[in-house]
């Protein structure tokens, strides 16, 4: 291992989980391996049923893998019960203890660890201040709002200073405005505490705005791990490209490969340049282009693909322009609206489509 390699907090090593048996067998996780670094904001992103919560519950210790091991700081904790793991969880339902006050909830973990009274009260005060809940310390959890419960759940999980904090879709119950606030808040807390956060969500925007790295999951497998930019700009496959942001997909034939770019001939006969992911594609391939990486120019300009505008939809900040290429492919271009509006292209008009340099990404499927 190289000296520069960052330290690993959590490692899942070839983990599988099978629920039920026989005909009812469900493979929730299928040979998943992932290394999560220390002090990292790591997100497990995927649609419901992709296995992300199962993986989180295994790290917490609520679920035992059918095969494989879980390591914390290089130590095998697969068989360690949850109360012996220095890992705390913020539950989707918050799971605050309804018979205890806010302060008693935050103190619970420290009490179970047998910390001295003075230390407990100091830490509780500091935690409540950190999530700005010190005014409501003596309320019961039924007397505070959803957003406040969320903060208490965070303070409670952070109070024992765990090595890893697990967050199971904690923002899904909040309204949009509060959710945006909490996104910033979570990122701040992670930076301030320096604790490894593992965040589970099905919301791609949450994942992109907060994470250092994202693992995109589907059907019990990890499809791609990378920074938000990596995942968004260089999706490995069709699922990742369509699950995170929007994408236009095209078919084409590889004509030649130069370095990490390929020349691809589209059915209309036009040749475009596309970035290559891993591997060397040959013959027929699929490539993706983001709607915001498409330019519209006047019909007939050299190097553009002729197209017809079939529909425009106004979105406030931008306008979505639905187009049909002469080759028959349909696509959506997202055009930024300016002060003067964006009436340049209207339904039925002809236009020339141009992909930005590096906009097209070859997908491996």
């Amino acid at each position: 291992m190289a000296a520069q390699e960052p330290a690993i907090a959590i490692e899942a090593n070839r983990v599988s989980k099978v629920f039920g048996s026989g005909q009812n067998e469900v493979r929730a996780l299928d040979d998943v391996s992932v290394k999560i670094r220390q002090n990292e904001f790591f997100t497990l992103l995927g649609p419901s049923g992709c296995g992300k919560t199962t993986l989180l519950r295994m790290v917490a210790g609520f679920e035992a893998p059918t095969a494989g091991t879980i390591l914390l700081d290089g130590e095998d904790i697969t068989a360690t019960p949850p109360n012996h793991r220095p890992i705390n969880t913020v539950f989707q339902s918050y799971a605050l203890f309804p018979h205890l006050t806010v302060a008693q909830n935050v103190a619970f973990g420290l009490e179970m660890l047998g910390k001295p009274r003075k230390e407990i009260s100091d830490t509780v005060a500091r935690m409540l201040a950190m999530v700005r809940m010190e005014q409501l310390a003596n309320r019961t959890t039924a007397q505070i709002s959803g957003g406040q419960q969320q903060r208490v759940a965070l303070a409670r999980a952070l109070a024992p200073r765990p090595k890893v904090l697990l967050l199971d879709e904690p923002l899904s119950a909040l309204d949009l405005k509060l959710r945006k606030e909490m996104q910033i808040e979570l990122k701040r807390l992670q930076t301030e505490t320096g604790i490894t956060f593992i965040f589970v969500t099905h919301d791609q925007e949450e994942a992109l705005t907060m994470s250092d790295r994202i693992a995109v999951m589907s059907a019990g497998r990890i499809l791609q791990i990378g920074s938000p930019e990596d995942i968004y700009n260089r999706p490995s496959g069709r699922f990742v490209a369509s699950f995170i942001g929007e994408s236009n997909f095209f078919e084409g034939t590889v004509q030649g490969v130069k370095g990490d770019t390929a020349e691809i001939r589209m059915p209309s006969g036009h040749v475009i340049k596309a970035r290559l992911g891993k591997g060397k594609p040959e013959g027929s391939v699929t490539f993706a282009v983001r709607p915001e990486h498409i330019r519209l120019e006047q019909f007939g300009i050299e190097g553009t693909i002729p197209a017809k505008v079939t529909r425009t939809v106004y979105f406030g900040t931008d306008t979505h322009c639905h187009l049909e290429l002469d080759g028959g492919e349909r696509l959506v271009a997202r055009l930024q609206n300016t002060v003067g509006g964006n009436a340049a292209y209207d339904t039925g008009m002809r236009a020339g489509v141009r992909f930005d340099d590096g906009a097209a990404q070859v997908l491996i499927d």
């Binding site: 210790g61 949850p82 109360n83 705390n88 799971a95 619970f108 179970m112």
Partner: protein, 279 residues
């Protein structure tokens, strides 16, 4: 079904008011249920010696009952048995409820559920005879003739009454709370003691009260199991009925009725509270 759908579409729902004779039937049912009890309560205040001829208002039968040492002893015995039986039954029921709701489904869990609720299904007279024979052999072997037999017998048939409200409370309780406690370094015992038990308390109290009430008015099993001189209030009253009957029995019954109503009211308040504050 189709007709009901059509009626619903027209905005008309099924109404008992439109059923001919429904009100009459309901009234008859209520009269049959409550008129005897009302009569019993009224005649407990009779000044005379009869339970059928009204001779003026008096509360003397209550004093007569209170001063009757046999009644005092029977009442004390009833309370001791009911308290002990309720305590044992609710403890056993709590453990059984946890074992049947907080574990992974295992083979035979349904069978266990049925076995716990056996006293609700097996005719009481069968249990009574069985216990009589069973305890008789123990009596011969050990020579012990105390209240223990009655307490054990009552505890046994009270278990399902305590089990049902406790189980209901446990099932409505979010098991994530226990997971959260474990996540925050609580051992299984600490999680039970600090989280499960306090949240379960209303269910346990409700179960214990129901068990207490059920034990308090049991006749059949008590009659079979009791040794000589171990009359409880209900068996004492049964014995009285064989002799000259006086409003004293009415007075004792009324007192039992009031106690039961108070306990059941508390029970309903506790179990309703569960639905009002879903944890």
């Amino acid at each position: 079904m189709a007709e009901a759908n059509r009626a619903a579409k027209k905005g008309k729902t099924f109404s008992v008011k439109t059923m001919p004779g429904f009100t009459t039937v309901a009234m008859i049912c209520f009269i049959v249920l409550y008129a005897p009890i009302v009569t019993l309560v009224i005649y407990s205040f009779n000044a005379g010696n009869s339970i059928a001829f009204w001779e003026g208002f008096s509360i003397r039968w209550y004093f007569i009952a209170l001063e009757n040492t046999v009644v005092q002893e029977a009442a004390l015995r009833s309370l001791i048995i009911a308290t002990a039986a309720a305590a044992i039954a609710s403890t056993v029921a709590t453990m059984a409820a946890i074992a049947t709701t907080r574990t992974r489904p295992f083979r035979g869990r349904t069978a266990i559920y049925l076995m716990i609720n056996q006293p609700l299904m097996v005719p009481e007279i069968v249990t009574a005879v069985a216990l009589l024979i069973f305890f008789a052999s123990i009596k011969v072997a050990t020579g012990y003739t105390g209240l223990g037999y009655l307490i054990i017998a009552h505890a046994a048939f009270c278990v399902p009454f305590a089990y049902l409200p406790i189980r209901a409370r446990l099932e409505s309780m979010d098991s994530t709370l226990e997971a959260a406690a474990a996540d925050l370094y609580a051992t299984p015992w600490q999680a039970f003691r600090r989280i499960t038990l306090p949240l379960l308390a209303p269910g346990i109290i409700a179960g214990a009260m129901l068990a207490f009430v059920i034990s308090l008015d049991d006749v059949i099993i008590t009659e079979f199991v009791k040794s000589a001189g171990q009359d409880t209030l209900p068996t004492y009253m049964l014995g009285q009925l064989r002799r000259a009957i006086t409003p004293e029995v009415n007075a004792i019954s009324t007192a039992l009725l009031v106690l039961t109503l108070v306990l059941l009211s508390v029970f309903f308040v506790l179990t309703r509270d569960r639905r009002a504050n879903p944890d």
